[in-house]
Each structure stands twice: as structure tokens, then as C-alpha cells.
């Protein structure tokens, strides 16, 4: 028994149940949460570098599942986000008052579990083709959820996501032809800096940058994320973009670190810096709340890439690695909290503009608090997971004399403060705005729980750094490798 496969199998089993039952079966979530939580804890407790093959088939034929630090952290954050977003969605995607079900109410639940299982599958596998299938599971669910908000935006998202997947698949094809394996741990041992490898790495990276919405390939994200229903936006921004990011990590730092030119990493770092600046400026310019939060995602993804050049340089690279990974999960939790809180606030005022938020702090203080907690983490202010991440990155940058990255980190944080305190201060404005408060306890608690988690993880910095360091770069476990032709 191992959580590595159950973390995928359980959501898939639940998807089957949801296809059969639809929104009538949505309370299955209450069983899913403790089971997934248990599996997640189990995953976190596994000894470092735990890995096993699926079935009885050794590499290079089979598929290796592995619990490294990145997988552990991201799966754990995904479990937390998905569980809480699911609880929030219980009311959003429920049968109507007359008991009649809508297509959205039905379809959300299977797609939700498909996304959850797909994300876990992606985080836990070391096989590039397996990652392709996982990527498509997640993309499919994501586009369908985006379509619940805006069909147009979803269509654009769909085409872009398809192109991204295909670019990735093209690279997988070239790599397989070149190495007769698509397993990351095997590739790490045999990687050669030849033309096919370089082309493969380039097209895969391009595809994944699209999927992760990295500037300037981000265009699809803001409309899709902003228009979707709140729980869908939360899943999209928190989890979906991270799958592409993790594959980038696998490629650049696990499969091909030996042949990657520093200049290439610098290019990615530059893209990240541009994304931080561009996303922040756009976020500052937005007048509607959800568009602001969506552009913030573009900016926050930038930090992940900004860290790439810092990870390979020798001094402080472990800190940069930890900072980057922790930033990924901090953003997951905070952004999920923020989208859910935004959804509640906008529903309460029946509007979507920043100025509609007037006076909300007096009517729904807990929801505004959730937004504020998430904002603290996104701005990278203490005490929050976002701060830990930014602090580690800053330290790594300054240790390596990367003043440019350090400056971007700090300026990005300030810009985040500008765009996030804008809606927050609107909630303090005015005297007595008449609003209808959403009284649902569960929906109020959901963003608050995520926000508190994002902030309180700031006290667990040491533990997160320790987990993130668990990388088994030494290649696959000997037992998993069969005869290599």
C-alpha cells in the first residue's frame, strides 16, 4: 500500500461516483476530505526519496511514482485547497430549490475530482508521457470549469491550452526517440546536449510556459480566471497553473540540469521579472475585483520563474529552491482564499467593481479578513508562507549578488501592496452601505481557513524548507530499473 497511487486512485473513484450521482452525490466530499487528508499526511511522513513502480513493470517500460519534496508540498497544498474549495462549492453546485439539477451542478463534481486526481498524478510521477496525460486531465477539467463562467474566454483558453499540450507532447516524442525512455530519473543519467534534446527542451518549455500563463504567453488567463465561478477560479489559479510549473521544474532541474546553459535560465528569469512587473501593473489598473486577482496570478507566477537562475548557482541554491517551492504552495493557498473571498464579497454586493465593495468590512468582517490574510501572504509580508518564500529568495539573490532579482522581488511586493490594499481599503469606505450578507457559515469559513493557513504556514518555515529539500536527484531506485536496452 502506498499513498503515491491512492492519492490518484481515490479522486478517480470519486469521479466515477460523481458521474453516477452528480450533485446528489456531492456530500461524498465529506468522506473524501478525511481520506485524502489521511493519505496526504501519510505522504508527508514517507521517508525521503520513497518511490515505487506501478504494477510489476520496471523502467524504462513502466512508470515510476515518487514522493520528493516538491511532490509532497504541492500534493499537500492541493489537498488543502481542493478540500476547502470543495466545501465552498457544496452550496454553489447543488440542486436548485425544487431539487432540479443543472448541467453545471452535475458536471462540476466529476470535473472537480478529475482535476484533483490529475494534479496529484502530475505531481507524483516521474514519467514525461504520464505527465502529458495528467496535464490533459487537468486542462480538460479547467477549461470546462472556465466555460461555466465565460464561454468565449474558455474557448480561447482551450485553444491555447491545446497548443501548449501539443508543444509539450512534441518534446516528449523527440526525447523518447532520442533516449528510448521518458522517465526523468533515467534521462538525468543519460542526458546529452545534442540537437534533439535542445529542441525538445525548447518546445516543451514553450508549451509549459503557455500552460503556466507566463508573460507574454499569459493572455488567456485573466479572462478565463476572472469570469469563472468563484470555486472554479480558485481551482484554476491555485492548482492548474502549478502543474505546468512543476513539469518545468522536473525538466530543468531534474532531467537536464547537466546540459542546461545558464543563459537559458537567465532568459526564464527575465521572463519571470517581466511577468512580475507586467502582471502587477495590469492588476493595479483593473477596476473589477476578479480581474485584479487574476492579473495578480500572472504576477505571482513570475516569481516562480524569477527564481530559476538562482536555483542552479551554487551558493544559496538550496534556499532558492526552497523559496521557489514554498512560493508555489503559498500562492496556492492565498490565491484560493482570495478568489473565494472575492466571490462572496461580489455576491453580497451584487456587483463586480472595486467601488462596489464599499463598507463591506462592517457587514462581512470575516470575509474581508480572509481577503486581507491572503493579501498579506501574496505581498510577502510577515508572518506568512509568502513571506518565508520571498525572504528565502531574497536571501539567495543577495548571496549570489543578483541585485536585479532582489530588486524585482521587493518592487513586486510593493506593487502587490498597491493593488491589494486598494480593494481592501474600499471595504472600509463609506458609512452604511446596504448590502445583503451571505449567511452561509461554510462559505464564510472556507476562505478564512485558507487565508489562515497561508499566514500560519509562515510559522512552519523550517519544516517546509526541510520537506522541499527532499529531492532524489541520485537517479531512480535501483530496484525500479530493468534492463536498459
Amino acid at each position: 500500500m502506498s499513498p503515491l497511487d491512492l492519492l490518484v486512485a481515490v479522486p478517480l473513484a470519486l469521479m466515477i461516483a460523481a458521474v453516477l450521482l452528480g450533485s446528489r452525490g456531492r456530500l461524498l466530499l465529506l468522506a473524501a476530505i478525511p481520506v485524502m487528508a489521511g493519505l496526504t499526511v501519510w505522504l508527508l511522513l514517507l521517508p525521503e526519496g520513497t518511490a515505487h513502480i506501478v504494477g510489476d513493470w520496471n523502467l524504462p517500460l513502466g512508470i515510476l511514482l515518487r514522493a520528493d519534496g516538491v511532490a509532497q508540498l504541492l500534493v499537500a497544498a492541493t489537498s488543502a485547497c481542493a478540500s476547502i474549495i470543495g466545501l465552498y462549492a457544496l452550496r454553489e453546485f447543488a440542486p436548485g430549490p425544487s431539487g432540479s439539477e443543472t448541467a453545471h451542478g452535475y458536471a462540476f463534481w466529476p470535473l472537480f475530482y478529475l482535476l484533483w486526481g490529475g494534479a496529484n498524478a502530475g505531481f507524483l510521477t516521474t514519467d514525461l508521457f504520464n505527465l502529458y496525460v495528467a496535464l490533459e486531465m487537468v486542462s480538460l477539467a479547467a477549461v470546462a470549469m472556465a466555460a461555466m463562467g465565460s464561454l468565449r474566454a474558455a474557448l480561447q483558453y482551450f485553444v491555447v491550452a491545446l497548443v501548449g499540450s501539443l508543444a509539450y507532447l512534441l518534446g516528449v516524442a523527440l526525447l523518447f526517440a532520442n533516449y528510448a525512455t521518458v522517465d526523468i530519473t533515467l534521462l538525468a543519467g543519460t542526458a546529452r546536449p545534442d540537437l534533439a534534446t535542445k529542441v525538445a527542451l525548447a518546445v516543451m518549455t514553450a508549451g509549459l510556459l503557455i500552460k503556466a500563463a507566463v508573460f507574454p504567453l499569459h493572455g488567456w488567463l485573466p479572462p478565463a480566471h476572472a469570469a469563472a465561478p468563484a470555486p472554479a477560479s480558485a481551482l484554476l489559479s491555485a492548482i492548474v497553473v502549478k502543474v505546468g510549473f512543476v513539469i518545468l521544474l522536473r525538466l530543468w532541474f531534474e532531467a537536464f540540469p547537466a546540459i542546461v546553459a545558464p543563459a537559458a535560465l537567465d532568459v526564464l528569469g527575465w521572463l519571470g521579472a517581466l511577468a512580475v512587473l507586467y502582471g502587477s501593473i495590469q492588476a493595479i489598473r483593473q477596476e473589477t475585483l476578479k480581474a485584479l486577482v487574476a492579473y495578480s496570478t500572472v504576477a505571482q507566477i513570475g516569481y516562480l520563474l524569477l527564481a530559476f537562475p538562482l536555483v542552479v548557482t551554487a551558493a544559496g541554491s538550496d534556499r532558492a529552491w526552497a523559496g521557489m517551492t514554498i512560493h508555489a504552495i503559498a500562492h496556492m493557498l492565498a490565491k484560493a482564499a482570495m478568489f473565494l473571498a472575492a466571490g462572496l464579497m461580489l455576491k453580497a454586493v451584487n456587483g463586480h467593481r472595486l467601488e462596489d465593495l464599499s463598507g463591506l468590512v462592517r457587514v462581512m468582517p470575516l470575509t474581508v479578513a480572509a481577503f486581507g490574510l491572503a493579501a498579506i501572504s501574496l505581498m510577502g509580508l510577515p508572518p506568512s508562507a509568502g513571506f518565508i518564500a520571498k525572504f528565502l529568495l531574497l536571501e539567495a539573490a543577495l548571496e549570489q549578488g543578483a541585485v536585479f532579482q532582489a530588486a524585482i522581488l521587493l518592487v513586486g511586493g510593493l506593487m502587490a501592496a498597491v493593488y491589494l490594499f486598494n480593494p481592501l481599503s474600499r471595504t472600509f469606505a463609506g458609512r452604511d452601505t446596504p448590502v445583503t450578507e451571505a449567511k452561509d457559515t461554510l462559505q464564510t469559513a472556507a476562505p478564512l481557513a485558507l487565508g489562515l493557513l497561508a499566514v500560519s504556514l509562515g510559522f512552519a518555515g523550517q519544516a517546509m524548507v526541510d520537506i522541499s529539500a527532499g529531492v532524489s536527484q541520485a537517479g531512480p531506485p535501483a530496484a525500479a530499473v530493468g534492463e536498459v536496452p
Partner: protein
């Protein structure tokens, strides 16, 4: 096969693809695309990849082709004439440059790799353990069973995603009917459909059974089944069920469900998707039969589309 054959085939493949992409007429584009798919099937045959050839012709050309035709019809009914707006010249020029560059890059990468059958040997060596002879089936349902499992969920998810597009007042009514018989003059089609459906079932069953040892398998069989269902639906021999039909839902999840249960049962014996020695073939066949059924239903319903409101035109 001779060099000339390969060369002409490749030229035709590229030619039909170019025609499908460059023509202004959408219907022509779709027809070219279907021809393109069938030529690809031939190419796979030329490469001794019969399993892929079957999948390409059945799914890549067949199902996708029918899908494109149906979609075109639906769009025309909505007043969409499918004319692609002219793109500016600079964009096209840039695209030509970029795509030529990409082709050259990918082409030279392709040329830098020597084609080789690297894993055929190791796979053949392991097949006796499974008790089957078709190596592709072995890869799909044993060595890479995890990929295939996930993929069946993608297929199921696609159907759910299509269903999610139903407008508020339509759910959970059946999709729009394809029945030509309703509009009169379809009696031949009807009779044909009635005849074809059982035939498709038999053929699908055969394909699964043969798939363990000869080319074929669940996906090809599922496609045949889907084809039969579609033709039967056009003939009016079957009507689309409602989305909340519990038998339908059970059929849809049967394949993925059986696959997942067998996978989980493997945990009791060792690992996820572990087949106990001696039972591998039995399990693979069980998975394939249930998968074929589910895939057939899923593909057919993917073509049928989502629920439509009662007053829908088509």
C-alpha cells in the same frame, strides 16, 4: 513497400493536410482532413504499425471526421457560415516564416536521431509473462496501464465537460436527434442501422478478443461500437438517452470502474495495477471488454453532444 510508394504517400499526406488547412470552404477542409486521416492510416500500415493504423483510421479520421461534419452542420444551423476571417498579410508572412523555421528545427532534430526499435525486444521478452501476443496491447494494458487508466478518465471527463455545456433549461434532456428517418425517406438508413448495430457489437467483441494476440483492442473495438451506434441513431434505430439515465451512466463508468477496481485489487497483492501471475491475460481481457463498451458509448455520446432544450431547432 517501395521508396516510391512511401514518397508519394508522404507527399499526399502533406498535400491533403495543406489543402485541409488552406481551403476556404469548410466542408472541403473537412473532407480533405478525412482523406488525410485515412492516408495517415496507410502510412502507419506502411510502418508495420497495424494497431495504430486501425486507431488512426477509426478514431483520427472516422470519429473526428464525423464530429467535424456534425459540428459544421450545427454551426450552419446557427447561421455561422464557417468562413474564416481573412488574417492580415503580415501575420501570414510572419507565420510562414515562423512555421518554416519550426519545421526546419524539428526536422533537423528528427534527422539527428537514428530510428530504432529500442524497446521491442524487452517487451517481447515480457509478453509470455502476460500470456498475450500483441505487444501493443501489452504496453497499453500492462506496462503503461497507468497511462491508459488515466486516459480513460480523460475520455469520461470529456463527455462530462461536453454535458456541462447544456443550457440551463435543457439538462438532463437527451442530445439533439440525428434521426434522418424522422424527416422521411430514411427507411433505408433505418433498416441499415438496425442491421448494423448488432453487427458492430459482434465486430467489437471480436476485436477485443483478437486484440490480445493480433492487432485490435479496446479502443478500436469501442470505435466500431460507437460507429454502429451513430449509424443506428441516424437511422432512428436508437434514440439518445437522457443524461440522467442510470443505465447509461453505469455503462459509461463501467470500463474506467473495472480498470480502477482491478488496479486497486492489485494493491492487496503488492502494488497498484499489479496483475497476479497467471491471471494477467484474464484481467486484461476483462478490462478490455468493459472498456470497449464504455468507450463505444462515450464516443457516440461525444458525437451526439449535450442536452438540448425541448424547442431546439434540430
Amino acid at each position: 513497400m517501395t521508396l516510391a510508394f512511401d514518397l508519394i504517400l508522404c507527399l499526399m499526406i502533406v498535400g491533403t493536410a495543406a489543402a485541409a488547412l488552406l481551403t476556404h470552404n469548410a466542408l472541403a477542409a473537412i473532407v480533405f482532413f478525412i482523406v488525410f486521416g485515412n492516408l495517415l492510416g496507410l502510412a502507419w500500415l506502411a510502418m508495420n504499425a497495424v494497431n495504430v493504423a486501425m486507431a488512426e483510421i477509426a478514431i483520427g479520421a472516422g470519429i473526428t471526421g464525423v464530429l467535424l461534419i456534425l459540428t459544421r452542420q450545427r454551426l450552419m444551423a446557427l447561421g455561422d457560415d464557417l468562413v474564416s476571417a481573412e488574417t492580415p498579410g503580415w501575420l501570414r508572412a510572419g507565420a510562414v516564416l515562423a512555421c518554416t523555421g519550426l519545421t526546419a528545427l524539428v526536422g533537423s532534430a528528427v534527422l539527428s536521431v537514428a530510428p530504432a526499435d529500442d524497446l521491442g525486444g524487452p517487451i517481447a521478452a515480457l509478453l509470455p509473462e502476460l500470456g498475450i501476443e500483441n505487444p501493443v496491447t501489452g504496453v497499453l494494458l500492462a506496462f503503461r496501464a497507468y497511462d491508459t487508466l488515466l486516459e480513460t478518465f480523460v475520455l469520461l471527463g470529456a463527455l462530462v465537460a461536453v454535458w456541462s455545456l447544456a443550457p440551463g433549461n435543457a439538462w438532463p434532456r437527451p442530445p439533439a436527434s440525428l434521426n434522418l428517418a424522422e424527416s422521411g425517406g430514411g427507411s433505408v438508413a433505418q433498416a441499415f442501422g438496425r442491421l448494423l448495430l448488432p453487427l458492430a457489437l459482434v465486430m467489437a467483441a471480436y476485436l477485443v478478443w483478437a486484440g490480445s494476440d493480433f492487432p485490435g483492442g479496446a479502443f478500436q473495438a469501442g470505435t466500431v461500437l460507437a460507429g454502429g451506434l451513430i449509424i443506428a441513431a441516424i437511422g432512428g434505430a436508437v434514440a439518445w438517452p437522457r443524461a440522467d439515465n442510470s443505465i447509461l451512466r453505469a455503462v459509461l463508468v463501467l470500463g474506467p470502474g473495472v480498470f480502477l477496481i482491478i488496479g486497486l485489487a492489485g494493491i492487496a497483492l503488492g502494488r497498484f495495477l499489479f496483475y497476479p501471475p497467471g491471471f494477467a491475460k484474464a484481467m486484461i481481457v476483462a478490462i478490455e471488454y468493459s472498456l470497449a463498451l464504455s468507450i463505444g458509448a462515450t464516443l457516440a455520446l461525444l458525437l451526439a453532444g449535450r442536452s438540448v432544450a425541448p424547442d431546439h431547432r434540430s
